[in-house]
Symmetry: C2
Subunit: 443 residues, 2 copies
């Protein structure tokens, strides 16, 4: 009867009290509230909204529905980065070892890809032997010795959240700012962080394409962080085109390794450094952005960051040789160069089309049960604004068979638009949001 009463109240625009959120999250986590009641409740939340206090209470309720990493005993800053998701976004795989080797604990709990977006867990599993399925105890051990653990959301953390997230995905209740904020923050707060950096994507490939909605989400998560003495800083970054050149699980791991060796594409490095600097500042390891930048480029040029990634891979059961020889990653059976069908400016590289194309080739999920071919994907070298000649190579397709190549070719034909003129793409890192407010960054 509890659930029905809360559904009716939220339906009529009423308020749910903290104790009620707690009871509901716990009852749902253990199966005492059925999915259909939670689905009706979530739709009422989507359409009626949650106020600040309710969002706080829901976050708290989900956080308390499970265990936490409980890292307070680590005498180090503990900073994580979270992205709202996009295509070609392999920043986590670069940032985790890079920031960990600079003395900050990075307890990175990641998710799997769904829909057009990829997931860090799937990407990491392209490394032969790599195990993301650690217990909380094992993760604590790695954080103590290597400042880093790259793991999935275990069943012990924020129990109500994975179940509720899967339900939202199936019931059209994902794009609600309070529900997104509570879902992310309940997991991140369970990591026992001393600071969190958010990469809030905007543009056609983002969850919330409009800047205004991204800013709202950032501000709400900053407030939820404040409630738990966890300072949060958000950068708004561009997802109107894929980030970097590689899109697809193994291909993105290869590009992340190149980035750790100092050979990453400019846009990927720029986003990585911007987010990394915020992590180091939150950790109070550096005085300013200049020092942060120097320490990061230094860690990369000296090989320390790549070497640290090797240690992490080894500790999580993977083959560390991959850092020196990325060819031991899964290789696709078929490869084909894609050339420009006409001369002109590259006016768009549409991330959703690219992401869906990868899924169609077997490299992404449409339901959580799909198994992936981690080798497939694209490397797209043409960038929005580039001038290309007809017949010029602008991308490479990686597929498991000729059908996959054909499908990939169709994808790129619609995803890469060529025209006589091209509007400038969105600025790569455009806004910084903190408890102090929104700052527009110089391009």
């Amino acid at each position: 009867m509890l659930a029905l009463r809360l559904i009716e109240r939220k339906r009529d625009g009423g308020r749910i009290e903290p104790g009620e959120w707690r009871a509901l999250a716990n009852a749902y986590a253990v199966g005492h509230v059925p999915d259909y009641q939670m689905a009706a409740f979530l739709m009422a939340c989507f359409l009626r909204g949650l106020d600040r206090g309710e969002t706080h209470a829901l976050t708290e309720a989900m956080l308390r529905s499970g265990d936490s990493l409980d890292l307070a005993y680590l005498d180090r800053p503990r900073i994580d980065k979270h992205s709202t998701g996009g295509v070609g976004d392999k920043v986590s795989i670069v940032l985790a070892p890079l920031i960990a080797c600079l003395g900050v604990a990075v307890p990175m709990m990641s998710g799997r890809g769904l829909g057009h977006t990829g997931g860090t867990l799937d990407k990491l599993e392209a490394i032969p032997g790599f195990d993301t399925n650690l217990t909380l105890d094992a993760a604590r051990g790695l954080l103590e010795t290597l400042n880093c653990a790259l793991i999935g959301q275990t069943a012990e953390i924020a129990r109500a959240d994975p179940k509720m997230y899967a339900l939202r995905d199936a019931t059209g209740t994902v794009e609600s700012i309070p529900l997104i904020a509570a879902s992310i923050m309940s997991k991140k707060l369970a990591e026992g962080l001393t600071g969190l950096v958010l990469d809030v994507k905007r543009g056609s490939g983002a969850f919330l394409p409009e800047l205004q909605r991204g800013l709202e989400l950032a501000q709400m998560m900053i407030e939820l962080g404040l409630d738990h003495q966890c300072p949060v800083v958000a950068l708004i970054t561009a997802m109107d085109r894929p980030l970097g050149r590689a899109c697809g699980n193994a291909l993105e791991v290869e590009e992340a390794i190149l980035a750790l060796r100092g050979e990453g594409p400019d846009d990927l490095m720029q986003v990585t450094y911007a987010l990394g600097a915020e992590m180091l500042l939150l950790a109070r390891c550096v005085e300013d952005r200049g020092e942060a930048q120097r320490r990061m480029t230094d860690a990369i040029s000296t090989g320390r960051a790549a070497e640290h990634f090797q240690r992490i891979i080894e500790a999580q059961g993977g083959n560390p040789a991959v850092v020196d020889d990325p060819s031991i990653l899964p290789q696709s059976a078929e490869v084909e160069v894609f050339t420009a069908p006409r001369r002109g400016f590259v006016s768009r590289v549409e991330p959703r089309a690219v992401g869906r194309g990868i899924a169609a080739m077997g490299g992404g999920r449409t339901t959580m049960e799909d198994t992936l071919d981690l080798s497939v994907g694209f490397v797209i070298t043409a960038r929005p604004g580039d001038w290309v000649e007809e017949g010029e190579a602008i991308a490479t397709i990686f597929a498991r068979d000729r059908t996959g190549i054909d499908s990939g070719r169709l994808t790129l034909r619609s995803a890469i638009m060529l025209a006589d003129e091209a509007d400038p793409p969105l600025p790569l890192v455009s806004h910084r949001v903190s408890a102090a407010g929104v700052e527009v960054l110089e391009p």
Copy 2:
């Protein structure tokens, strides 16, 4: 994927097309759309509303999701009555044999009680042996020979509806006028009627207590009827107090039998005759209300109506002796007279409190799985506006044990309010709604 697309569209205030309603109703009826998706969709419908065309399409989709009674071969008018539900409402049990014995086919498909309201099916099953679980073929046979079949909604009729109704009941999506209208009309149209009379209740014990909402519901159902060449007339009747004196399954059957024998309480007879006159007018069996009234009182005073009920009971496997001797109905183990705790006017007899009190004593359902004790309930002789002296008998409690009596006493203490003055209750039959508009009736 269909369901998700429709959820998102309705959520955003969009329109669902007729073919989509059909596909959704069919997919849900056979289990291809899970309850949780339908629940989210129904909440979006509840909050965003359905326009006239969508309500028509949903009705049509539910109607087509199953079989129909297909009575066109009967060369007689086929008229049903439907009530939006209340406490003490045994009108169907009186009307069905009364109108059937006057030459009109009455294919009466009824429901079970839920929440504070009773259901005709439960009441009929108080008659020893009575079987409401007939096949459509058996029902057609009874309609041919006796002009009447008193049955439940079979699995073959409007398949999507019972499943969707149970889901709405559990997810706070019942009180939506388009959803209520489509649910009622899809079942009624499946009966193959040539006319339908609605008893739309108003007042504190009604589903939609406000007059305005009741009128809206009536008008929507009239329009849905017009779409199918089925004229619909609605009367707005009072449910700010129970109808008649008896509340509880067997007790109400006994009162219905008394009514058929000419010994029914005034308010019950007045509502029965008002609805019955509309049925006879729709059937074109009479010229005017005066003739309708004469034919009905005649059928009762000559014993024809009671005798017809006996035949129907016998044809449906029940013991027809009940009409002469209602004491063969289930009798409660404990009976206690309830007396007025003070002198004064009866200011309220609250139907919801009475209905919930019966459920608490075992005579009503809180979930569809509950089994009922059909013998329990109340006979409340005091009417709103009556003057009573302290200690005067104003009701009788029927319970299965002393605990039930105690519970019943508590119920009546809060349900029957005594005061120094009393506002007049709602007029019993206040409005008549037809395709021509709303008519306010003289008290």
